[in-house]
């Protein structure tokens, strides 16, 4: 591993770049939702309030951290960094500035699935460690919801892999030179977006963090720096899942090659990637703005009786077409 690769992992297009994107996504999410609701949204910090998420983050880090008496101190204090690590590691496998990712191996889709599962597991552990009444209920809901959306999510992620005959994201992105997989597997893309809403705890699946029912869900007992990192992680997951959707179904950084000058080519690829990323992100926050929260048993019913059969249907169509 040379110095350049370390810079790539930590700065661009790795961690720092994605954390920056997380802040931008948070701002975009709040701003578009506000405009769709007839409000103005963040306004004061920076031009059009673009620095508001950054300000919120640093404000939270300076606040007092309260550790509940009956909490599991080890998990409560060390959980948030681990929770942050999950999507942060996942982003390394996504090609941004060229058709190849920073780190790539032939099986990194499996690792992505592990990352997605790990992030839910960490959320559950954090909730249980804080030992609050609301957290406990929220974790019950989170786990039930997870058993629901896990299967359709995996099936919908596997579909492009079968189409590309590759288990690496790099391979899948490279295979979409001619056409995007969303045209062959539109149902999978839809299922992926809906499962992503559930993974991100956004409406209509914000059941584990429903604020009018269980205050802040599994995050209720967290405060200060830990809360700042948890919120940042949720936004990073948001970017990560949007990037995954853009890479698997919309071709990611792949697009018509207009130039062969190295720097310009990098810019071209990253702009392809960013446009698709924001398109997927916009789709997610448009859906979450337009819907009401449903109940946990209704969510489970949606996942098991509608999404799982649909994704299986798409999978069999894809296998038959191949």
């Amino acid at each position: 591993m040379d110095v350049l690769q370390v810079v790539e992992i930590l700065v661009f297009p790795g961690l720092t770049f994605f954390v920056w994107l997380a802040f931008v996504f948070d701002w975009l999410d709040r701003k578009t939702a506000a405009r769709m609701q007839g409000r103005v949204g963040p306004l004061v910090a920076g031009p059009h309030g673009i620095l508001q998420p950054v300000a919120d983050f640093f404000k939270l880090t300076t606040k007092e951290e309260i550790v509940p008496e009956y909490s599991d101190k080890l998990v409560f204090e060390w959980g948030p960094p681990l929770f942050f690590a999950a999507p942060a590691v996942g982003t390394i496998f996504i090609p941004v500035i060229s058709l190849s990712a920073i780190i790539s191996n032939p099986y990194d889709l499996l690792f992505i699935l592990f990352v997605l599962a790990f992030s839910t597991l960490m959320a559950a552990m954090l909730g249980y460690a804080s030992a609050g009444r609301y957290s406990t209920i929220a974790i019950g809901r989170l786990v039930v919801q997870y058993t629901g959306f896990e299967v359709p999510l995996i099936i919908s992620i596997v579909t492009p892999a079968i189409l590309a005959k590759s288990l690496s994201i790099e391979g899948i992105v490279g295979a979409q030179s001619g056409y995007w997989f969303v045209f062959i597997a539109p149902i999978s893309f839809g299922v992926f977006i809906i499962a992503a809403l559930a993974e991100l705890e956004k409406a209509p699946f914000d059941i584990p963090s429903a604020k009018t029912e269980i205050v802040a869900g599994w995050m209720t007992e967290f405060s200060g720096e830990a809360l700042a990192y948890i919120k940042l992680t949720k936004n990073l997951s948001y970017v990560f899942l949007s990037a995954l959707g853009a890479s698997l179904f919309l071709g990611g950084s792949n697009g018509p090659i207009l130039t062969h000058i190295p720097i310009l080519q990098d810019l071209l690829f990253s702009s392809y990637f960013l446009v698709k990323l924001f398109a997927v992100g916009f789709l997610i926050f448009a859906i979450r703005t337009a819907l009401a929260r449903i109940r946990i048993e209704q969510a489970t019913r949606v996942f098991w009786t509608i999404l799982t059969p649909l994704s299986l249907l798409q999978l069999s169509i894809v296998i038959a077409l191949r």
Binding site: R133, D206, A210, T212, E213, L291, A292, R293, R295
Partner: protein
Amino acid sequence: MSDKEDPQPEGRKEASAGLIQYSPENLVPFGPVHPALKEPEYFKLILEGEKIIEVIPRIGYVHRGIERAAQERTWIKNIYLFERICGICSFAHSLAYVQAVEGILQFEVPRRARYIRVLVAELERIHSHMLWLGLVGYWTGFDTLFMWIWKDREHVLDLVEAITGNRIHKSYSTISGVRRDLPENIADPVKKEMAYIQQRAKYYKDLVSSEETLISRTKGVGRIDADLAKKLCPVGPLLRCTGIARDVRIEDPYAAYDELIPEIKTSTEGDIASLLALRIDEVNESCRLVLEAIEKIPSGPVKLTAPRSVPKGESMFHVEAPRGELFYYVRSPGGIAPERVKIRTPTMANILTATAMLKGHTLADVPVVLTGMDPCFGCMDRVSVFEVDKQKEWSVLGEELRQYGIKYYKERRAG
């Protein structure tokens, strides 16, 4: 019981403990401070998983002793005091009070003043209903609906400000009429905004009856039937949504409701979805009444000169507040201040129904069902202790309360 420090009479504690056995792990506190509640109130939810077995309301968190304070103030000062019982239905409170006092005085209120009272009361009903409709969006996680309806509510509030001088605490009623005439050229903005509200109400009715995520949260949730409603005696929309057409405005017309006749809207399902539809219908109906009032308003004075002191006598008055029947009892000793004012607010009548509606539902339904009655805990918390074992209601006098407090803290210090 988890709350040993609860300052309740022993009889009540035993009686409520006898109602249900539960372990502390099953108790989920809902309030006193909770994102779903606008005002502090504590509900003990006994859960089994997500299912609600029992709801124990514990009222009194925003008790301010207003009825006692009223005895120290003059008749005019009390108007502004009673307005502050509740912000949302402030005009209904002052209206009920001044009409009760007018009853003792046997005043004939000028016809124009009665029309203006209807106008403002209906504007208040529109904004109160829209507040609740928006909050249903909030409670079900549909923040967009919440923001939209509150955005449209601003139009009504601006009208109220133009007419009365304030958005919420209108300070507009006075004994013998209303304090100021309508501003000039108010008819055009009223017509414009009412047309806008009617158009939006049509859209929202369409939306709440077609958006499936919202339907899944409201259809069949918190259902009460007419028989249960007759037993528990709710008032207002909560009663009307079970199909029982009761409305004080029709049954005992006050102000100008004998000339501007509202149509009672009912729905039959008795669940939250039908409450939504019913309240939107009532917003529409109120818009129609406002337009009718502004068309037919007669000219003339808006108030008479009221005397500072009121002769001996007593009077009762009830009005249809946005949340239901609001009841005032006023007794005058013959002087400048009332001897006793008793208020029965709609939330007090509805709270038992709301807790009965909750049983058997899941925790996810609590915010939307509990607040389906449009609770106003500020209204509800009067000094009134209900003893379950003795089956009688008694009000606590100041001295009694003080003695009870001394006794309670002595006992606590001792053991």
